[in-house]
Symmetry: C2
Subunit: 282 residues, 2 copies
Amino acid sequence: MSATIIDGAAVARRIRAEAAAGVATLDRPPGLATILVGDDPASAVYVRNKRRLCVEAGMRDLHRHLDGDVTEVDLAAVLDELAQDEAVTGILLQLPLPPHLDAASLIARIPPEKDVDGLTEASAGRLALGRPGLRPCTPAGVLALLDAYQVKLAGAEAVVVGRSDLVGRPMAALLLRRDATVTVCHSRTRDLEAVCRRADVLVVAAGRPGLVGAGAVKPGASVIDVGIHRGPDGLRGDVDFEAVRAVAGAVTPVPGGVGPMTIAMLLANTVTAARRLGQPGH
Amino acid sequence: MSATIIDGAAVARRIRAEAAAGVATLDRPPGLATILVGDDPASAVYVRNKRRLCVEAGMRDLHRHLDGDVTEVDLAAVLDELAQDEAVTGILLQLPLPPHLDAASLIARIPPEKDVDGLTEASAGRLALGRPGLRPCTPAGVLALLDAYQVKLAGAEAVVVGRSDLVGRPMAALLLRRDATVTVCHSRTRDLEAVCRRADVLVVAAGRPGLVGAGAVKPGASVIDVGIHRGPDGLRGDVDFEAVRAVAGAVTPVPGGVGPMTIAMLLANTVTAARRLGQPGH
C-alpha cells in the first residue's frame, strides 16, 4: 500500500482563493506591509512571492525595502508608522535581520492586531491561552492541510519533532487545542524513533534532512514534513519521502507540501486582521 | 520498595526563606497587592495565607478588599492605580471573580512586570517564547519540587495530565524548556493509563480525585499530584497515593506536596518582580 500524497499546492490554491473571496467582502482592501531589510537573496525571493500573491488576492502591496545598514531606531520608526497607518492591516518583518538589529525588540513594536506572522509575545500568549489571535503561518498551514485531508485529530496521538518558536511549539499548542494527545520531541529526546512510532499524526520540523525514516512511522500514520533543504538532487525535507510513503497513510512531499501553505496562511491571516480591525471597538 | 515522599512543606519553607533573604538585599521592600472581591470563604483563606507569608518574608502587604458588587469599571480603576503605584511591585487578583466581572479583561490590566501570578497574555507569551518573565506559581512550584529532589528532566519522558491555562499548559512549557520529551494528556486522551505509564516524570493536574492509580505509573517514576479535593476523610489528590507509593520512585502527598509551593513561588515571583522593576531601564 502506498500513502496518499498530500497536495499542498492544491490546498494552498484553495485557501488563497478563499482569501481573495474574503477580500471582496470587505469595505476596502487589506494592506500588507512586507519589510525587507538588506539584500539577502533568499529573503528577497520569499518577499517577492508574498507580494505577488497578496496582489493576486486583491490586497494592497505596501512593501518597504530598507538598506541593510538601517539603524534600529530608523527601522523602529518605520514599524511605528506602519502600526499607526490605517491603510496597513498586516505587518510582516522578513527574518532574518542583519546581525546589528535586535529582532525580538523590533517585532515587539508590531501591534498584535496587525501581527500577520503571529510572532509577537502577545500572539504567542493568545495562542497559549486559546484566545482569538493571529497564529504563526507555518503551523496554521499544517493544520489546514490535516483538515483538508480530514485527518482526525481529537483523541489522536500527535507527535511534533522540533520545538522552535516559529513551528514546533505553536504546532503543539494548535494540536492540543484540537484535542490531540500531543508529544513534543527534540534533539534531547532519548529514543526518537520509538516516540515517533506512537504517532497517528507526525509533524516533523527538526531542520535535519532525512531525519525521519520508515522505522519512525506507524503504519497508516499521517506524516507532515516541514523541513526544506537544498541538496545536490534538488529540494528535500526532514522525512525520507520514498521510504515513508510505503508505510504512512498520508505524507506531504517536498516541495509541494507544507511550503505553499505558509504564504496561503499569511493571506488568510491578513484577511482576518483586516476584518477584526474593521470591527467597531478597534 | 516504597517511594520517597516529597516533602513540599519543607521545600516551600526553604523557598520562602530564600525569598526573605532576597527581600533583605533590596533597597526597599517589595509590595504585594492582593485583591479580594467579595466574601468567598475559600478565597478569603487563600488571600489571608498569602498576606501572612508575604509579611513574614519582609514584604509590604498592600491588600485591597472590595465589595462583591463592585463594578467592572471600579475594579479596573483599582488595578490601574496599583499598576501605576511604585510601592506596588506585585499584583494578585484572587480568582474566581463574581460572575458579573470579566476576569480576562481585568487581568489584562496588570502590567506583565507586576504579574506575580503569571496569568496575563504577555506572561504566557514570554513563557511560550522562552523569554524572561513571571511564571504561573503552581507549575513553577512543581518544577522547584522536582529540582529539590534532583529529578533528572533533560531527556526524560514527562507526561502532564490536564491542560488548564493555570497548570497543565504552562507546566508542559516549563518541562520542555528543561529538555524533557513532553506529552500533554487530557479528557480526550484515548488510553490515559498507557500514556501515563511511559512517564519518568508524571504531573497530574486533572481535577479528578484518585484518577491516577498504580497501573498508570512506571516503576520508579516521579509522580507529582497537583489535585486537591475535600472528601469525607479529609483532603486527597488526583493520585491514589497509597497505591502509587508502592510503585513510584517518588511521590507528593496531599496535603503537604504541591499545595505549600504555590504561595512560596508567589513570594519568589514578587522578589523577582521587585528586582527587575528596580533595575534601570524600567
